[in-house]
């Protein structure tokens, strides 16, 4: 699928919040199609709120979210769910629900009262489980799995929804570094190989810089800066957005940008100690 005929998601002059209080103000954002967009920002900067408003879970106070040029709040819930998948932060599966049953929930928006389970649904579920690498424990209860496996199950559910757009809120939080990297590989692959458009909220800065095609830094409910990691992942932006003194290193072997905080008590190592 080419980027041209993909669904476009954009926020225009968006303000939103909970119970009248405004958290987001004046957000303009066009999500690049078939790319992995990563939202970063300090706690309370409005990343999740932005994600929820774009996923139509939260109603904006003003401004609008457009899906293919049409306001998402004018589109039916089920129709949205066929185009845009959203995974909230730290979802909890009901006790005893099996992996297959959870993933099958992703077919919800494609089914109706009379439309029965079809081979198409079955194929979507099987494919999602294989992509997320969880087919091996399809019949185990979700609550018996490790954190990383569980997160993969939820992602598989969102995949089974077969939406062009996927909005994921902190899918890697509380996971081991290795598991985080595996997940990011999976997500980046979805964008680059399958042409899906992803928007992911992340906490881990270096991970964000490594995998984002488009990096959005948020501060106090506004977008502080956005662009490719090469453009925006700089020490001065990190200082501004996170109030964190850090150095950004360009690792020549991998080509990745790495953020190294420069705390005064962090211990310096001499060249001999490292070698």
């Amino acid at each position: 699928m080419s980027a041209r005929d993909s669904i476009r998601l954009e926020a225009q002059a968006l303000s939103a919040g909970y119970g009248g209080a405004s958290i987001l103000s004046d957000i303009d954002l066009t999500v690049p199609a078939a790319r992995l967009t990563v939202l970063v920002g300090a706690n309370g900067s409005g990343k999740s709120t932005l994600l929820k408003t774009m996923a139509r879970i939260l109603r904006p106070n003003s401004g609008s979210v457009l899906l293919d040029g049409k306001s998402v709040h004018r589109i039916k819930t089920r129709e949205i769910a066929r185009k845009l998948g959203h995974l909230p932060q730290g979802p909890v599966a009901p006790e005893g629900l099996t992996v297959r049953e959870l993933v099958a929930q992703g077919r919800f928006p494609h089914q109706g009262l009379l439309r029965q389970w079809t081979s198409e649904d079955e194929a979507a579920v099987t494919d999602a489980m294989e992509t997320a690498d969880i087919a091996g424990f399809a019949d185990r209860p979700v609550d018996s799995l490790s954190g990383g496996q569980r997160q993969r199950c939820w992602i598989a559910m969102a995949l089974a929804q077969q939406t062009e757009l996927l909005l994921l809120d902190e899918p890697t939080t509380f996971l081991d570094l290795k598991v985080q990297v595996d997940l990011m590989e999976l997500l980046a692959g979805l964008a680059h190989e399958r042409g899906r458009t992803l928007v992911v909220v992340l906490h881990e800065l270096s991970l964000a810089a490594s995998y984002a095609d488009y990096l959005v830094m948020m501060k106090e409910g506004r977008i502080a800066c956005a662009g490719t990691p090469g453009e925006v992942f700089t020490a001065s932006h990190i200082k501004d957005v996170f109030d964190l003194d850090a150095k950004v290193i360009h690792d020549l072997d991998t080509g990745h940008l790495v953020c190294v905080p420069t705390g005064t008590h962090a211990q310096r190592k001499t060249v001999e100690q490292v070698a």
Binding site: I57, G85, L97, W117, D121
Partner: protein, 337 residues
């Protein structure tokens, strides 16, 4: 093509459900047959298919046994399904039809209407019970809206418990004020299936029937809702609208059950959990299984209530928990192994 995994699951569960239905039907027949006068299968069939108004045994079947068996089944099904839905919506394993003051509200309304307004028409009782249950839910809802942060599940549950206790106290006061005429209600308030006739069953059955049909239709969405509001919304569920539909369904089921048998506890809490042990967390299965198992369970309990110390009988509400508690503990133990 290989059999789809989903279809294979559907087949085995449908088979098991058919089995459970068959057992329930047998229990139904047993319930009608046994009692202070045990009837033979032949008499039973004759009474049902070629009733003779002059035959005493046929009269027992039509006037006493059948209404009571039908009542037991509908109350059991209604309360189990109401409990299952309530647990799914609130994501609270301890939720039951009494949550949000529904049961107390229905009981309170029926007691007040029959004691002080002199309403005794059978056709009115289900209405009154529904209004009472809705009223209690409304009061709980208003308090929740009035208290800052009151719409959290915890506050709703607590408010429901407080309102239940408050209405319970009012019922107790009414009892003290008018002890004599209250005697007839006393048994009803402990959850009883005795003295039901086909008229009151006929008046309540449409309510319960409608509630059960709605439950089956909504079941698929409840599974999505049980994963949390945000996940459900992401899947395309209109959560606010769904919760309203579910609340009305639970109100109708609970009120229907209360109108027939009084505030019967335990069934709505425990049967859905027993069902989950076997069919998991998918409400497309939990709802129909709860319906059948709830009906079967109350038939068994009522058979015991009527025969344990025959010719006297024990209030069904007392037996539900006495028999159910050890059975449930044994089920959990078996499953844990």
């Amino acid at each position: 093509m290989t059999v789809l995994a989903e279809q294979a699951g559907v087949r085995s569960r449908t088979a098991a459900l058919s089995g459970a239905l068959a057992v329930t039907f047998l229990l139904f027949a047993l319930h009608v047959a046994v009692g202070s006068k045990t009837l033979s299968p032949a008499t039973l069939l004759e009474a049902i298919f070629s009733p003779d108004e002059k035959a005493f045994e046929h009269m027992i079947v039509w006037q006493l046994r059948l209404p009571r068996a039908l009542t037991a089944m509908s109350v059991g099904a209604a309360l189990s399904v109401a409990g299952a839905l309530m647990q799914g919506v609130t994501r609270n394993p301890l939720a039951d039809p009494g949550l949000l003051g529904l049961m107390a509200g229905a009981s309170f309304a029926v007691v007040m209407a029959s004691q002080f307004l002199g309403v005794t028409a059978y056709s009115a009782i289900p209405f009154i019970a529904v209004i009472g249950a809705l009223g209690a839910a409304l009061i709980v809802g208003l308090i929740a809206l009035w208290v800052p942060g009151g719409t959290s599940p915890l506050t709703l549950t607590l408010t429901g418990a407080v309102i239940s206790a408050f209405l319970g106290a009012l019922i107790a006061i009414a009892h003290l004020l008018d002890e004599e005429s209250f005697d007839s209600l006393r048994i009803w308030l402990s959850g009883s299936l005795s003295g039901r006739d086909l008229d009151i069953f006929a008046m309540t059955a449409p309510w319960i029937g409608a509630g059960l049909v709605a439950s089956v239709l909504l079941a698929r969405q409840v599974t999505a809702l049980a994963m949390g509001d945000d996940v459900a919304k992401g899947l395309g569920v209109r959560t606010g609208w769904l919760k309203l539909q579910l609340l009305l369904t639970v109100v109708v089921l609970t009120a229907g059950a209360v109108a027939l048998a009084g505030p019967l506890g335990f069934v709505g809490l425990v049967i859905p959990h027993a069902v989950r042990l076997f069919v998991g967390s998918d409400y497309r299965w939990i709802v129909p299984y709860s319906m059948v198992l709830g009906a079967a369970y109350l038939l068994v309990v009522d058979i015991i209530a009527r025969t344990a110390i025959a010719p006297r009988e024990i209030s069904t509400g007392i037996i539900t928990a006495m028999v159910g508690a050890p059975v449930f503990i044994q089920l959990v133990r078996m499953k844990a192994r």
